[in-house]
Symmetry: C2
Amino acid sequence: MRESTALLTDKYELTMLQASLRDGTAHRRCAFEVFGRRLPNERRYGVVAGTARVIDALARFRFTEEQLSTLDFLDGATLDYLRDYRFGGDVDGYREGELYFPASPILTVRGTFAECVILETLILSILNADSAVASAAARMVTAADGRPIIEMGSRRTQEQAAVTAARAAYLAGFDATSNLEAAKAYGIPASGTAAHSWTLLHTGADGTPDEAAAFRAQVEALGVDTTLLVDTYDITAGVATAIEVAGPELGAVRIDSGDLGVLARQVRRQLDGLGAHNTRIVVSSDLDEFAIAALRAEPVDAYGVGTTVVTGSGAPTAGLVYKLVEVDGVPVAKRSRDKRSHGGAKAAVRACRRSGTAVEEVAYPLGAEPPEVGTLEATPLTVPMIRGGEPVAGLPDLEASREHLAAALVTLPWEGLALSRDEPVLSVRFDRV
Amino acid sequence: MRESTALLTDKYELTMLQASLRDGTAHRRCAFEVFGRRLPNERRYGVVAGTARVIDALARFRFTEEQLSTLDFLDGATLDYLRDYRFGGDVDGYREGELYFPASPILTVRGTFAECVILETLILSILNADSAVASAAARMVTAADGRPIIEMGSRRTQEQAAVTAARAAYLAGFDATSNLEAAKAYGIPASGTAAHSWTLLHTGADGTPDEAAAFRAQVEALGVDTTLLVDTYDITAGVATAIEVAGPELGAVRIDSGDLGVLARQVRRQLDGLGAHNTRIVVSSDLDEFAIAALRAEPVDAYGVGTTVVTGSGAPTAGLVYKLVEVDGVPVAKRSRDKRSHGGAKAAVRACRRSGTAVEEVAYPLGAEPPEVGTLEATPLTVPMIRGGEPVAGLPDLEASREHLAAALVTLPWEGLALSRDEPVLSVRFDRV
């Protein structure tokens, strides 16, 4: 078995398990639902991401003897239950790469209370992290308007989170990642240029910089199609040196500081003047979706995005919750003052005009007939993912989910792709729930 | 060997390595420095965290044949270099739990260019993530003013990041975590209460809630010292039921919604009226350092903090960078328009009054005599961590680092502990560098 995910769990889930085994409620048939109460930062839509990782993580949710030995706060019956634990229930939900809105029933987990309750933290950790990154990344892809974006934020987030953030960014339409583990684990194209340290390394014993030596060595090692970082000292001198060393067939130059719009124009003119018409300009340096959009009219060929994408551009978590919605067929919902939820296990459709434009989502009881949507067309959003503990056949891979998202974004009303703050572009109506 | 960390690396580090092996610069003696250009969100201080994890991760920075087989963009000589790679250099820096300010030389890595350059992403990922959490968490601990805080944010961050976030929060003075893997891996006390799902599970076949049954089962399974979650339906009824079921020796009640200050007062009165004078009140629900501070006058006994601490309370990354500062003994620094740095490998001291209050930091050449600080006392901040690739003996453990931070915070001028935005409370002066 690959690494166990079983301890990526909050203690209270196991103490609730113990209490439920004692009072017999452990075996009640339950449905838990993952949904978001709102979209962070008044965004117009969210992107579901991490679903395939959840399915993989559930298969590895097994307690080893070594893990069990650390759970000394549990009684013998509970430890026995965990020793044999295999999730044997069903999971249905929005496929990875689907859009979601407040109250969209993103994922529904059904089984006994015992088998479902202990999955709360793991499922939410994955979906919250991945959806946060994908939701931010999708806005950047829209802002880039067809120009490629490279994810290079590994250094600004936890070392393992970097790997899954690269995956989520790629799902959302990024073209490549700097992260080698993500390239290996998920088959994402890896990309990279050079660091300022590379140029600084080529400093003489008397402290004299030798940018030309750095560029020459890079071109010799990596070929003329490489990307030279030209802003370590003076950008104009850096560009001149780059073309002098590499010739006008140089692949690209990267600018990583300063007013990127002004510099891109200046560098483009300089490159063209040197006959390097095909040399691309890559820009980086604290880019977010707004900065990317602001560069739309500039001669920029590709963006490198780091910090903002891996931290969700101001919304580092999607804020999704995992709530019990049904017990033995009876809908349940808590009634705390400021946190309400709809009871009952749900499926959903998205109602679209014949033109393809989405109008609303409609949630209805899981397993019931889909709702009537008049002259609109109802696209099913809820698909089976796990049956009796086993993943269903034919679940989409990362490429398929990436294409699904790209297609889904096209169905949004135009204002849905605006970067400004506003209400969600679609709302969820409840039918029979 | 435990799991390899070698691919938690950006591609460009390996292509720079290849270029340096070809042009012979790979073996130049270099010093790279980790520092922050500024503190996020105009905070007054930062907390160094993750250092022990860096040291552990470097020991596991070994390329397996399987990993090497995925690096098809490298030539044979580079692959051979990686196959034999062991970091053999030196690391010095601020100990874990130390305070830092803009330009503090937090970590200095010395060795050949080749052996140092490929560690950039891994070192920064760890320090940026852990320091972001610890820096936010330390402010929450100050705001809590001695009342315990439980970290329970696992579900709001990536599943592995949750484990290390729990560690960073504990380092900063949190008392416990909900995360079981963190408890196992780092020996942090685990804690937990119950979820709303537990109460909702106890719903009759006709949909009638039975909060009393939920509370009774929890007390029977976990003892009367447990914490009952009283806000699933009506809080006043919930508190009454809790004491009715558990008696006035109930450990605690938790409130997870609503105006926590108002509710805490109301619940305290109610508990006292029921004779439950020792029953504690635990509050949670989107608490950050400001909300914690605002509850200081209320009868709250403990805080549960989730989202904000694991996401750095608005600053999910510390923004630390890893820059080449010295080549073959010559200081180097880039001169891009908006990103300047000081060349040369550095150590630092903190100058304090005899009363213990810190006045400034002074950075000076690593290995040189410490600077004169007049009538002040100079506390060394830079300590050796790795020598010739091996960790030095006697490095502090997590508990020691936690105590170190608590003691360091006491040395700050009073305004350093204010939560409001302002300049860093100490600045770094450069002496001979």
